[in-house]
């Protein structure tokens, strides 16, 4: 009878310890979730960059002048293999324009904080554009944006 009571006491003690450990785990979990929210804020710059370059007006006219394609339209039309009014390939214009834009916006040479970048535009399994410069590191910010109905994805990563 006495040993049974002792066993019950030990069980209660064990349960208490388990509850305390669970509470501690919950506290650490909530702290780690807060850190994830901060990372979302940090990606603002990369998000804004993608949104901004998508609106850029290129010199590739669509049918007549001055109906110029934006980068967003260039990506969609490059995926459909269309050409500009001056017979240039939309993919060539997209490649040239985006390379210049990214090089100018994310300079990697010298002692600059940005060490490298990767810009990838895909449509399903096919790659529309793949640009990279500098080195990749473990400290990076990236963003993904989807376009239209053709399952087009734009992924940009900046390495620090």
């Amino acid at each position: 009878m006495l040993s049974e009571r002792k066993a019950q006491e030990e069980m209660v003690g064990f349960a208490l310890i388990m509850i305390i450990v669970a509470v501690i785990v919950l506290i650490f979990l909530s702290l780690s979730l807060r850190n994830q929210e901060e990372e979302i804020v940090e990606n603002y710059e990369v998000d804004s960059f993608i949104q901004s370059f998508l609106m850029y007006t290129s010199d590739c006219a669509d049918g007549y002048q001055p109906r110029y394609r934006t980068i967003e339209k260039l990506i969609i039309d490059c995926n459909k293999h269309e050409t500009c009014l001056d017979k240039r390939n939309t993919c060539e214009v997209l490649d040239f324009t985006l390379e210049e834009i990214v090089n100018e916006a994310w300079k990697v040479e010298g002692d600059r904080p940005v060490k490298g970048y990767i810009l990838q535009i895909t449509s399903g399994n096919s790659v529309i554009l793949n640009l990279s410069n500098g080195n990749t590191t473990n400290n990076y910010k990236n963003s993904l944006q989807k376009l239209g109905k053709d399952d087009i994805e734009i992924i940009f990563s900046a390495y620090y």
């Binding site: 501690i24 710059e45 804004s48 609106m55 850029y56 007006t57 001055p66 210049e100 916006a105």
Partner: protein, 178 residues
């Protein structure tokens, strides 16, 4: 004799419980101290980081405020889109906005296409690439965010939308907010 034995067992149990309580308290105190040390060691860095994030968010907020944003002038409503024509007029009336945004400098700098640096005035607009909306002397670093700088252009009498890549750059009034 039996009473003495019972007393001893009781004392032992009390001792056991006391040690256990001390051990548990010590454990929590140590965990608490470890947590506080980790938390407070990064306090200054956190404050600086938060300040930078806040400024970056303010830059985005400014770009999307009615005084700057494209609204629906260039098709559907867009995020991070600044109406250059609107901003040029705002620059001329900036005295009316004294202390409104709590920033000492606001600048919109065109990044692409690449051009030689030229500050915008009503006389040379749009053949320029830096719109200084508010500029006071301030040594603190600029905080910036990417935006699309759009305006109405004309080609042989036809008006069309032209958007370029730019950065909105701000710094706080004498570092008061940081």
């Amino acid at each position: 004799m039996v009473i003495v034995m019972k007393n001893r067992t009781g004392q032992l149990k009390i001792q056991q419980m006391a040690f256990m309580l001390i051990a548990v308290t010590l454990f929590f105190v140590l965990v608490g101290m470890f947590f506080l040390v980790v938390k407070f060691s990064n306090l200054k860095e956190d404050a600086t980081g938060l300040c930078e994030k806040n400024a970056q968010l303010l830059a985005t907020k400014l770009a999307n405020s009615p005084e700057f944003s494209c609204g629906e002038s260039f098709g559907s409503s867009k995020v991070n889109c600044i109406d250059a024509d609107k901003v040029m007029l705002l620059k001329e009336n900036i005295a009316k906005y004294s202390g409104f945004w709590g920033v000492s400098n606001i600048e919109v700098r065109k990044i692409y296409p690449i051009e030689a640096e030229k500050t915008c005035e009503l006389g040379n607009y749009p053949d320029c690439n830096i719109i200084k909306i508010r500029s006071k002397e301030d040594t603190s670093a600029y905080l910036s965010n990417f935006v699309s700088l759009c305006r109405k252009e004309s080609y042989e009498g036809t008006v069309y939308d032209k958007c370029e890549l730019a950065k909105i750059m701000i710094n706080y009034e004498y570092g008061e907010k940081c």
